[in-house]
């Protein structure tokens, strides 16, 4: 039995759930955080979404049918929570017309936890200019080290499409970064 499968078994056992959940946090908290952070941009937003994600995982672990890996299932929850957060934030922004609209890049560069140089800023600009799917594929593969197989389950796209998307994005970035 794999480590994940063992962990799931303990999570579904009421007598071992608390301890197993603590183990789960040790293994996956950091990885999920970075996955979320790249979508919601700032540390503060990522912190909120991360908490919501783990609460949702805790509440729904009994419904996990183990058709995919635990890792994939949790990443999908984190991804959905991040998108939900962005949609909620976008609605709030549109309601308040007096607010000066700021792009995600501006928000990122002004964040207290952005410590990048000009090359980093340029990379962020190139990534921000990609289509949504291209962006996600690249970030998940390059930064989160998610396999194409897992990615296809999370994003519900074929592996071949994901591979060709990823390699074309790499070419774009390599071409533009030194311009």
């Amino acid at each position: 039995m794999s480590k994940d499968a063992e962990l799931v078994k303990k999570l579904k056992d009421p007598t071992q759930k608390e301890k197993a959940f603590s183990e789960l946090l040790d293994v996956y908290q950091e990885r999920l955080y970075w996955h979320i952070r790249k979508i919601v941009t700032t540390h503060e937003n990522a912190d909120d979404v991360l908490q919501n994600t783990f609460v949702r995982i805790y509440k729904n672990i009994l419904k996990f049918e183990e058709k995919s890996s635990l890792h994939t299932w949790m990443y999908r929850i984190a991804y959905n929570e991040s998108i939900r957060f962005l949609e909620k934030n976008n609605k709030k922004r549109h309601r308040n017309i007096d607010e000066v609209p700021t792009s995600n890049l501006q928000v990122l560069f002004e964040d207290a936890y952005f410590d990048g140089d000009e090359v980093h800023k340029k990379l962020h600009k190139i990534i921000a200019g990609l289509k949504e799917k291209q962006k996600r594929v690249f970030q998940m593969k390059y930064f989160d080290d998610i396999s194409f197989r897992q990615m296809s389950e999370i994003l519900e796209t074929s592996e071949n499409t994901l591979k060709s998307t990823y390699y074309s994005v790499v070419k774009i970035i390599e071409k533009k970064i030194f311009l």
Partner: protein, 178 residues
């Protein structure tokens, strides 16, 4: 030389692999960081939040009963059933009021096919039909005959060739004139 270096940099730009430290990888590649000790603090916070959720979650038996102690889907089914029953009641009542009314019974009674007409009526209507026949056949027709006789008589007073001759003999005429 400079160009070669640039090319090397370009080709190697995204070749940095993800090693064990994902946070370090993000810092180096993207320039984004996290506060010191964030993950241990976050873990405690998440565990506390889960305990809070478990405490504030109301047990099923203590949950406020739904309106009429019904789940929404059963509530809608009950409402739909009630509307159907009421509609059926109103429809049946209006169907009963579609009994043949008095004027129709009278009209039927004027028809010669009284036997056939009687078949289309139910028992409660038959009595009214029978009364109507009685009025029609005996009373009204008798009056009409009498009226006919009167008309014939009065018409004869104005017409030279009178049908009265057919009805009276000389002795009656003598009685009238004298």
């Amino acid at each position: 030389m400079k160009k070669a270096t640039e090319n090397t940099n370009q080709n190697n730009f995204l070749k940095g692999s993800f090693k064990d430290d994902i946070s370090e990888h993000h810092k180096v590649s993207l320039g984004i960081t996290v506060p010191e000790g964030y993950f241990s603090k976050s873990k405690r916070s998440i565990l506390d939040k889960i305990k809070e959720e478990a405490v504030t979650e109301v047990p099923k038996e203590m949950k406020k009963p739904l309106v009429f102690w019904m789940r929404p889907q059963f509530k809608y089914m009950a409402a739909a059933s009630l509307v159907f029953i009421l509609s059926l009641t109103f429809w049946l009542q209006s169907a009963n009021n579609n009994d043949i009314d008095k004027s129709t019974i009278e009209f039927l009674s004027f028809s010669d096919d009284n036997l056939i007409n009687a078949l289309i009526l139910n028992d409660s209507e038959f009595e009214a039909f029978a009364d109507a026949i009685l009025i029609n056949e005996i009373v009204i027709k008798a009056e009409l005959s009498e009226q006919k006789m009167d008309d014939l008589f009065f018409n004869s007073l104005f017409i030279e060739d009178s049908l009265i001759d057919n009805y009276t003999d000389d002795r009656f005429l003598e009685t009238i004139i004298l």
